[in-house]
Structures are given as C-alpha cells and as structure tokens.
Amino acid sequence: MIAAVASGTPGEEDAGDIPLSQRGPASTEIVARFGFWLFLLSDIVIFAALFAAYAVLAKETAGGPSGAQLFDRTYTLIETACLLASSFTCGMMSLAVERRQGLAIYLWAGITFALGLAFVLMEFFEFLGMVAQGAGPTHSAFLSAFFTLVGTHGLHVTVGLCWLAVMAAQVATLGLRPMVMRRLLCFGLFWHALDIVWIGVFTIVYLGAG
C-alpha cells in the first residue's frame, strides 16, 4: 500500500521512511472533506461576528421588550431537542452511506429532514409571533441583533434541508457513486456543525436572557 501513502500530513510514524516530497497527493476524499472542514470553520467565524454583535447589543432594548419577556424556554427546549435528534439521525445516515445501504439512507434522511423542518417551522412561528407583538427586528438594537443571529442560523438550516432533498434525488438518479457519497458525508459535517452553533445560540440568547 506504499502507493496509497499520501499527503503532507506531518507527524506520522508509519510514513517516516518516505520523504514528504516523495509522497503522492492525498486522496480526493481527504482533500474534499478537509476543505469542507475549513469552510465550516470559516462559517463558524461568521457566526462569531454575529454572536459578538448580539453580546454587545443584548441590553440595548430601547424601551422595548427584553429577552426575558420574549422567550419561552419550553419552546426553545423542544426546538433544541428537534435539532439534536436530527443531528443523531444524520449520523445514522452517514453510517448507512458508508455501508452503502440504500434504503437506510432514505429512511434516516427522511427523519433528519422532518426533524429539521420541524425546527425551522418552530423558529419561523416564533419570529412571526414576535413581529405580531410589535417586537420586530426594527424595534431595537437588541432585536436587530437577535433576528440577525438566529435568522442566519435558521437560514443555514433551511439551506441544509434543500441540500438534503437534492442529495436524496442524487442518490435516486445517480446512485451511490463516490461523488454522491462524498457529498452526503459533507452534508453530515454541515449538519453537525449547525447543531454546534445552536448550542451557542440557546446558551447565550435564550438561557442567558434570564
């Protein structure tokens, strides 16, 4: 398997006898997934900027309602449960992809999609309720920061749902070729990363408001 030994990963004992300059390029799987990992980290940096804006503006309610008056923790807990459960079913989907079990992929993808859709809809109705109360994003700096941060996360989840639907169609039409499997596994990384961002959201925004 000397020919498969690859990449500029330093610090490997087994590859020590092959100079760095003589190892071949890393496999497409590793390059693609590592590149996607870098994208996810830069996406998290975007969220960091929004978190910073929220942390700075959280007290600037301009005489309007504060977070403690607006947020319902039971509602947030149900949202959180939906997203956490969908992260788990997404992991199950990744396993099914690696084992090339077509039916299991559809099953877990369907459950993941349903839970993700439930999360997005709950968030959408929460936003609608807040706007109906007169607590829209234009009311105060706090609410602008809130809608930007939570809305951006919701938008990411919505894009993820579209991606998942497209992937299900690709599995159906193209079959489990390496390209499709790679995309499915990248989707798994994306979904888990969104759940990590949500931990920050519910801790800082919803629980921090008390």
Partner: protein, 125 residues
C-alpha cells in the same frame, strides 16, 4: 493493514474507522448531549444554583456539549492522523475568541469612557 492505511493518510473529519463501533459512539454522544442540554436548561431555570455562578456554569456546560459533538458526532480525536483537522479547529477557536471577547472588551471599555461624568456635564453649554 487498516491502521497502516489510516495513519499516514491523515483522516478526513467525520470519518470513523470501525462501522460496528460507530452506532454506539453516536448513541453515547446523543445521551451525553441530551444530559448536558437538560442540565443547561435546569441550571438557568431552577434557582437552586447560586445566581452569579449561573452564567459560568452555562458556559462550562455549553463548551462541554460542543466538545461532545466534536468528539462523538464529528469524530475529531487527538490522534496523530487528525493533526490537520485539530490545527484548523484550533485556529478557528482562536479567531472566534478574538472576535467575540475582543468586541465585548472594546465595547465595554468604550461604554465606560463615554459615560458622562459631572465634570463633562458642566462643560456642555
């Protein structure tokens, strides 16, 4: 053979070595994440925790849960084959820390300096 392949190649993030162990890994991750989530909501709600300590406890629980997600869902480990992923993650955490804590520090400092003092109030016409 498995080990010889896995180590020098480096490992893609989210990749697990052994299929049969992974369902268990995800289940452990789900259980730990659920416990930490419930603990967060309980700590914020119950009033049993000493008030000023609640934000620190919430931060610790959140960081713990992010760690659980990274290890059990994204399969980031401290092994040598994960060096690149860990390095990228460390840089990401560094930038996030700079942006968030830097902004908060600068804005708090500005707020404190902009606070009108009695002397500056008198200087106004």
């Amino acid at each position: 053979m498995e080990e010889q392949d896995a180590a020098p190649q480096g490992r893609a993030p989210g990749r697990h070595r052994d299929g049969s162990r992974s369902v268990k890994t995800y289940l452990i991750g789900l259980g730990l994440a659920a416990i930490l989530t419930l603990a967060s909501f309980w700590a914020a709600q119950s009033g049993l925790v000493y008030g000023p300590a609640v934000p620190i406890l919430l931060a610790a629980l959140a960081v713990g849960q992010m760690g659980v997600h990274l290890v059990f869902f994204l399969h980031i480990s401290s092994g040598p084959e994960d060096t690149n992923n860990i390095l990228a993650l460390a840089f990401g955490v560094f930038v996030v820390g700079l942006v968030v804590f830097g902004s908060m520090l600068i804005m708090a400092n500005l707020n404190a300096n902009m606070m009108p003092t009695p002397a500056s109030m008198q200087m106004q016409p």
